[in-house]
Homo-oligomer: 358 residues x 4
């Protein structure tokens, strides 16, 4: 008997179900003695031993479904060692569940925070294999995460729709794209949607540079401008502040989100009408795109293969188009940022896109 535990943690995204299906289909092709324990709502299910017994059939027909059939929740890493309201040590509770159920392995799907906890469970001696899920594409150790391309598609579709309105009216449109710490979705959707200005957390902006780019367009007879801005985009002045001072400043300004702050600044500097669109959570919803389904299926199959090899403690990722196993200790706690000097940013600038920095 092979006892497989599985959980999805953090914000949901596209292709979680596709990836789990890949794991289960592969395992059940190779062995007919697999027992699957699906923990509910992320680590919470492991902590409180809340699970469903599943079979291969439960993973049939879910390739195209958004969300996760296991449910998910956020369990911040820094609270993992903090006892719960009943004094329960969460890490010990997870280990207890694992051993009580006599699990052979735990497959964990998640993003950055999830991987820190997964690495801790590995250190505690559990057999862990992980899969890189996040629309943000910010996981260290893999070129690509599933969810990312689907999110890019949705954000691009938003910019496309705004484009038709923009060309009919003369205005500045701001589309706020998901990404608090990294700008991958904004960068790709901005290029794909034909945004004129792209603002990323990794490249602090100067409002005067933005205003100049808008005015330059006006002089060239283009009376609208589309700005794709990541949730975490930051001005050059704010980038110089300490974390604490920045937090205090934001608390005082009370903008609902960065788009509102930017809109106010642009309006002041250019005297143009500004409109805001925030696609928000739609970016992580709906059926995964073909790209993500292929990636998730491949990673899922490769995870099962690693399990069959009894090779634990890795995240499955992709490097130069090859599926690779990356040690969890290399992945945990590191973020993959957009490099301001990277080729793609360079090419985008060549093609006339302003990043508000120069």
């Amino acid at each position: 008997m092979f006892r497989l535990g599985m959980l999805t943690s953090g914000g949901d995204c596209q292709a979680l179900n596709a990836a789990m299906r890949g794991v289960v289909k592969t395992l059940c092709e190779k062995r007919d003695d697999v027992e699957i324990y699906g923990f509910q709502d992320g680590y919470k299910g492991l902590i409180y031993s809340n699970f469903k017994m599943l079979t291969a059939k439960d993973f049939s027909g879910i390739l195209t479904m958004g969300g996760t059939i296991l449910g998910t929740s956020r369990q911040p890493f820094k609270l993992m060692r903090v006892p719960d309201e009943n004094g329960l040590d969460k890490v010990e509770a997870m280990k207890h569940t694992y051993h009580k159920l006599n699990l052979d392995c735990l497959v964990i799907l998640g993003g950055n925070g999830t991987h820190k906890s997964a690495n801790m469970l590995r250190e505690e001696g559990l057999n862990v294999v992980t899969l890189p899920k996040t629309i943000d594409n910010d996981l260290w150790g893999t070129d690509m995460t599933f969810g990312f391309q689907s999110a890019v598609d949705i954000a691009t579709d938003t910019i496309d729709r705004i484009h038709t309105t923009a060309t009919s009216h003369s205005r500045v449109f701001i589309v706020e794209v998901m990404g608090h710490k990294v700008g991958w979705v904004t960068l790709h959707a901005g290029i794909a949607g034909g945004a004129d200005i792209i603002l990323l957390p990794e490249i602090p902006y100067d409002i005067d540079v933005i205003a100049e780019a808008i005015n330059k367009r006006g002089k060239a007879g283009k009376h609208f401008t589309i700005i794709a801005v990541a949730e975490g985009a930051i001005s050059k002045e704010d980038a110089k502040l300490s974390k604490k001072d920045l937090k205090a400043k934001k608390a005082k300004e009370k903008y609902p989100s960065v788009a509102y702050e930017l809109a106010e600044k642009v309006q002041k500097k250019t005297d143009q009408e500004v409109r805001i669109t925030v696609p928000g959570h739609t970016q992580r919803g709906g059926s995964p795109c073909a790209y993500d389904r292929v990636l998730a299926t491949r990673l899922g199959a490769a995870a099962a293969e690693a399990i069959l090899d009894s090779d634990f403690g890795n995240m499955l990722g992709v490097k130069n188009n090859k599926i690779v196993r990356i040690p969890l200790e290399e992945v945990a706690g590191k973020l993959k940022y957009v490099d301001p000097e990277s080729e793609i940013v360079h090419e985008a600038k060549l093609a006339g896109i302003s990043f508000g920095d120069e």
Copy 2:
């Protein structure tokens, strides 16, 4: 020689180009002496005699294009008789342009405000034919306007995407749908997207009824709730205020939009996490859906037929699946609201949707 003037006014929406194409293709099939004057940016182009000479070719290939090739702008009816900054009387200026160019007819595409101005031009003796454009579907005299079904599709897609996230997390999601005065898009997208609660300007809500509906779902094991709310949705208390008092109250509260106000109230009453999504201008952008293209093409062809009949002063509309000509004086200044007692609201309630009213 037949001289046709054409303009699009108000917010842009889907199928404006499709409708103009229908007019021009039909006219140019029947007569080969048509001269087309495309006024730029709505009534503004007529006021300041800013136009492009167009041919049938310019209307080829635009069936599927969002926006309007003529550009558009909002020219509030109540400012029409107010002289511009140079003292120019706008109505006289429009008449002047019309007569100077020796136009035989003016085709005007627009929504509610646009029709008030169009009717005024008719009263001033111009030959006017209009087409009902608005995502709001609030034009009196027609069962359906083009743009509406496309907007419903987009708002529904938004709710669909939110659904996959909602089922993976346990939360209340609020989707704010366009419609300041009327709730047509919210009503249809809410039903189509499977919203649990639909809030419309026409049916003032009671926050306690909403909280009860959410709690009832929780008791039935459904730990998420989706609320589709129209921009102009209003509480029962606010509905009792005078216009002036309401405006003052809103100014004081400073919510970015209704969704934020509702979110705060729901959070207080139910202690659930609430998330907001505002698709905003995307609802009026992008390629029109098949339904709108058929409707716009039919209305455009019918408008051309009316012109060939020298039958002016009407809006083309649809009544019980028939294309009809409705006198502008009947249309102007009236809104078509969702009737709280209507069949569709009744059926939606039957199927378990709460409108927050009872």
Copy 3:
């Protein structure tokens, strides 16, 4: 206890699940003693007493799903009275199942053939309520069936994609749209997709008229032509043949489908390269469009209301935007054809579309 039987019959289409959800949600809102028997694979399930017991929960989350959770099959009306391979009389078997299970009512979702059988069951004394499902929109007694608008969307999308290729190459493109007996989908998708020529079963074509339309476009500098042809489109000569002679002719010619026949004729007459696209079954697959979801939900709720009223023997349909109950004996055995003299055909011709007839 209220015992509800339900089945879906004939080819699958979009919004079957949405309609069943509407029925069940409404019934279960009003009564808490409903028992649901879901017969498998259409009438077959009723004949062989093959069913699943379902609850309201089984109908949760299926609003957006294509296909039918009950499965479906074709059971031709004319074979209903023909005993099966074991000598079983199918009609008696269906009555037996109905009475054995002590059903209070049977909800049947289907198209034209399905309604003939449903009417027969009514005549045999069963309480039957039906819902109009078909992409063909050919059911008598209702302005609209669910599935139709979704199919139009898909066929239109196909024409849209062909358009971009067509404008890049100089060719004739034939898109074959579903519809053996009626041309509704082809008519609407043809107009929506900007087809230059539309060929319907109801309007026999003359190949010389088609060739002339293509050549006329060439002279006007348009080097591609898009033809939307219904599966059952027919030439004027073939339309004159007896059913038997026509069948013999078709059997001899052996074209895979009408598009291949037409392609050969067009190529001969115009010496242009011709390409064929047959979207086929995709037209009945995938998630229903917003329009169909609203329609299906409304009809489902109205069907439940009729059941609660103990008003049986009707199909729920829509007439002039009102939901109505139409006696099954009026519906059964009649088809709703495209009228060649109708307003929509007239308007399409005005806008320059050729129907190959004149």
Copy 4:
């Protein structure tokens, strides 16, 4: 003055316009003395000196448009040295046009055949830079071509729609995907769409293996099977025939396409109903997906950079996520096939997909 010639050749595909826009935007950002000669309908325009003078404005707003604003045609490489009907040597004619117009460089966008001709022009001394356009993804020297991912999206959408019908009926569905020589689109769309069997030109199939896979599904309670088959898929027996014998056999059998041949074989072997869907040219039409827009924009910008560097004779491609310049002599005349032993095929097999070979 910098004189840039540009042409698109071969079948059209998505993102041709996006790539040309990338080239032009970049060049015109860096130099303001660029003259653009857009040759019409591929090499034909260069041969017969048929071109349009274009400006940066002509490339504005085309990022999202399918097809190519320059038109395209197929000009087989092997006929390039064959004089035309007036005795004109085509290669000399192209050189003549190039020198007569005093071009500084020629940007050529195309697939495999196009690159052979482009390399010949390079050998003849012209400054050539090329971009890898093809939905087939079969160009040697680049990991990815633009058009590919968009085609995968469309083919996947087709399989998705068929899936809902397949689960409602019990049948075998065959979806024929583009790819005469290589199976990239079929492989990716097959995995993404959840096909049960994938048949590629690179992996000859055994009909008995296919029948067994279908029957195995039946025994596991899955009564439908979806087969994704590339246009050029071939049986093991046919793969053994000489080219000439195979051609003769195909001519005799007269199947409209491979799907019809396969359908007949499957029906015979399994006694199951079989349905065919051929999305055909839709796979190369419509707006490019976000992935292709980003790729095309990057490659376009990089091509302009190569031009500014006066570095000619290369195709721009992508290798391990880096944009690279690959000498045309390395690219010309070679195809990039799916390796039957590759990682992705291995993973697909792990996840239970049959390739009909074992």
